[in-house]
Symmetry: D3
Subunit: 239 residues, 6 copies
């Protein structure tokens, strides 16, 4: 089984971290191909980075060889619905994977992400996935995404923020709200005493599960293959 | 006042229709510039078209001169949040404009869009705008977006579908769920006997309203300007 | 175009403030008639004031000459649905107008009203308009409505309360939750650095927009004209 | 114990029916005073009737002697919140009473009311009481309120509509959505084979329950007594 | 009329307290039989105690003679739906009874329960009853259930926690979230100045009300009598 | 890795079917132990069967040797929360597993269960998991649970019901709402042309995933281990 694990931003360091996490999670027979779209922003911090990243991710999916399943490793789950339209295998974002997993382990969870500007995006996603009632809060550690490449000082800030969040929200699990935090989960779990869920490993395992059960993306509704357009005439122009 | 009215797909005919509708709605002192992004799909039918359209719309916004306000004339409201990050003036999608307007005129409304595959997208938007309880149903006329360029036969199908929808949902207003239907609204309203709300004119008027009140997009939260990235090294690569 | 701008309470000072705000917002060709129902309470603070105000507002609407559109300038939106039944033109409450406008400008907003007793009313309205998820909190400045007639000391209290609310809720826009605060919006916006949305100007512009688009209140459902009663016999009596 | 049972419309026949139902439900020691406000509309069909009825109901409450509890016998629950502000004893609308009772007896209920125009009002109430998920539908028998005074032909229409509603919604209880239907409940229950809940009797019993437990309306929040106004000067005037 | 008042845990002291509260609330003609299932846990603190208690409660209901109505006096409402299937008379949990009652008396309420582990259970119940928007918070006094048998020191802790909760949540009523607190309600109400709602008395009165109105549990839907099984062969076994 | 796969009813045939499905889904290194609690009802049809099954399931968990993860194979997810309290490894119900999986594959799904009486239970679960907006309907095939042991005639009924449900709900995936249907999924998927999700295989794979990632049930909140009780005195007694 071949899973394409895409980091939708173009940071090589983060792509490596994510790929390592995904490969470590996969079963023996699973080939995990870690990659990222060259033209995407270096990090995804907000809606506009998200649009650029989704565009380049779609292109990368078209250009990559066939895969049995797909993981998009941006916690905003940008581009997930669009990729689902383009392929047959199951596609999972790390945000939804982590949130679903958290509901299997804890009564209530909190999300800790990088920057405040991502908070409403994740709140909206939690609501759209229907998990708003299980999520007691989305919080920002006030660290830019790329800070986690240097795990050292970022780790301490993250851990202290996590402790404050868990106490304030009275949550019994923590969800890490950024793909760049993936490698910090085990250490955090050890210090915090609650399940710390990061989405890269969860998404790889869940996609592996769906592929092994021969479950594919539905092709009859909102994820049907894109339609061919009947070109009418020229392109854009001012009127 | 200068309003950039963007049709996020690249159909010249639809761009013309939308521009005409927007110009007709604007007040005397308002300059409405109708345009579309050349690289975008010819029509937006689903998530993947939406990602492409949002990408090219962002680029078009960057390249266009400054404007006081912006209207994105795709009923899916694709790219609206991203454009809000990039500019200071108010930005409105025609989907949200039409849905908000409908709640000002009727107790319950129904949406009639082009294809079934867009139904879950619009249901999700209605829920995200919080208007799900006011919207009694999202339905598809089973016509591709470009069919409305030839208004003749499409009109009859649309009208009959609208009648069926209003009766089934017991709604007292109809929202037209596709920018390409904009020019059909007055005739439909005449035949159906309920308010028929299309978003292009509504969005132009609402943006005009916000600009005249000197209300701008907030720059302190989720719509703050995108952050500069500190480039670290190279681009995407397989690991 | 003639818009009837009704302050549903009977305070002459507040009626003047509201009328001035509405007139300043209107386009050149729009006549805004500011008025208030003589028998209504001097201020609307709670449900029972709201019932009295709605009753007298209905009477005022009947007695006033015809208008193309209507704005009810009480943030509780008391009587809005009832007036919609009585007239053909569009009718807007300043509460709904401001909340809808806020969602066009910011990811999340907070409402600052006068007294604690109005908080559950506004929370319920936000929920009914479907905007609860966008509204991070409704708060009271602990000032009676009439305090804003003397803008001086009230302004400082309001500004400090607004700052505290924005920090606590991490909101990126402020909605002023009382018609009497209308004239304080520009100054507050200057000091707070986020959009400050007040409903009088928004409602006037939105009604103006709907009228110019020839969009009227639906007359086939919940806003149909009241039915004539077939009188049966006498009035109320103890049994 | 003295319970004021107010029919908020001014139909003498309906007031008698409601009073009889309430008296029959009350315990031996409970005095139920059935009454109605003379100036109110003859029936409450929509928002504007509701505003008039609430106004006259408030006046009636002020003029009536003290009571230990209050029931407002309009299924729209118009004026309930306002009366709660004015008195100390518990106040219940028949709509909320019936809906709460239905959730105690059945997994899912449907509401059958008089006219289509009341449907969105009751849907909104069900949502505000939080019972929307338990209510599978609000339907209209297409009969005006006063039709039920002549129980004969109205009964057959109501019963047939009820059967259709129960089958369509797969509900296991029926709520009668109009005070004028109160006397028809026992006969309907016999024919339909499911609990038929009407609100007059339920509200009288629930208020009786609360009074006997010495539970009163809270006076510290949204139902605190109305505040005295500091009159400033004259009344309404055009500006 | 005979009401079976079951304390679903097996604490004799708590059973006595609950029985006394229920008997004091009942009308003259009502016989309240207080009882508890011998095999149940001594207190119900969490999901697993809840399953055991529900099982033994079901058995107790089968073994007890017929009753006209039933009250289950655990605030988690464990087993309520199951008992509804087994009997014809109305069945009420004290959690739902208290929450419904609170909405009749106050705009917003808060729940104070014993231990943190019960908080998500009660939050979920409030949501399922549709009352989440009326409930501003569920909080734990951090006292085990059995602590309330010794009312002395527990009372002071409870009162101080209640004060903090009311101030933090700005609620205008308090709901006591544990059957063992029933006898403390009147004293708390006196000190706190808001309605203090405890569910045992409310549930007894509401069931008494429903019985007196001849309203029974529906037998056509989700509460129909359990079906007889056609035994196939042996029992459980490892495969 | 050892996963305890519990069929919470006591039907040997269904236990075999479920065990076979679970074993077939598991990875090479995973030992799946299929079992059922001898005292449980032969099938779970409604709340009261659910309480009995949960009780015996809890006992079975206590008596079984240690396992790394647990699957409860009743689609109602009865007892899942309680088992989570008792063990450290992850615990999953097949209902939640299937619903979460469906949201990863399709925009909208419908559930087809055995009997009408289970519909409200599953609707409530879907709402509690937050997936109500993704689930367009819960329907009953009107077949008792044990009918599926004889797959022949039951299959045809199920398939025809599934077709009707998919057309009516316009859903793009079907969730099988009963553990006894597990073996029919592949054949149904072949005939229906949409993903057919059954929960046994999904739950086994998801639990396997969580165990392999060393993610365990949280022990600090609502799933903390049950507390020891301080026995006070005797058992249940009538008062």
């Amino acid at each position: 089984m071949r899973i394409l694990l895409i980091n939708p931003n173009s940071s090589p360091a983060m792509t490596r971290t994510i790929a390592n996490t995904g490969k470590a999670a996969a079963a023996p027979g699973t080939e995990v191909v870690g990659t990222c779209p060259p033209g995407a922003p270096l990090s995804i911090e907000g809606h506009s980075d998200g649009v650029l990243a989704a565009f380049h991710t779609l292109k990368l999916v078209e250009e990559s060889g066939p895969a049995d399943g797909y993981v998009l490793a941006c916690f905003d789950d940008t581009g997930v619905d669009a990729v689902r339209e383009r392929v047959a295998g199951p596609v999972l974002g790390i945000g939804e994977a982590a949130m679903h997993a958290a509901t299997m382990l804890a009564c209530r969870f909190s999300i800790l992400t990088s920057l405040e500007r991502s908070v409403p995006i994740l709140e909206d996603n939690a609501a759209r996935y229907g998990l708003a009632a299980r999520c007691r809060g989305v919080h920002a550690a006030q660290l830019p995404v790329l800070a986690f490449e240097d795990g050292k000082s970022a780790y301490a800030v993250l851990r202290d923020a996590a402790r404050a969040v868990l106490e304030r929200d009275r949550s019994d699990a923590l969800v890490l709200g950024c793909g760049g935090m993936a490698h910090l989960a085990p250490r955090l779990a050890g210090e915090l005493g609650v399940p710390v869920v990061e989405g890269v490993a969860c998404a790889v395992k869940f996609v592996e599960s769906l592929v092994s059960l021969n479950l594919k993306t539905s092709k009859t509704g909102g994820y049907a293959y894109p339609l061919a357009k009947t070109p009418v005439s020229g392109g854009g122009h001012h009127v």
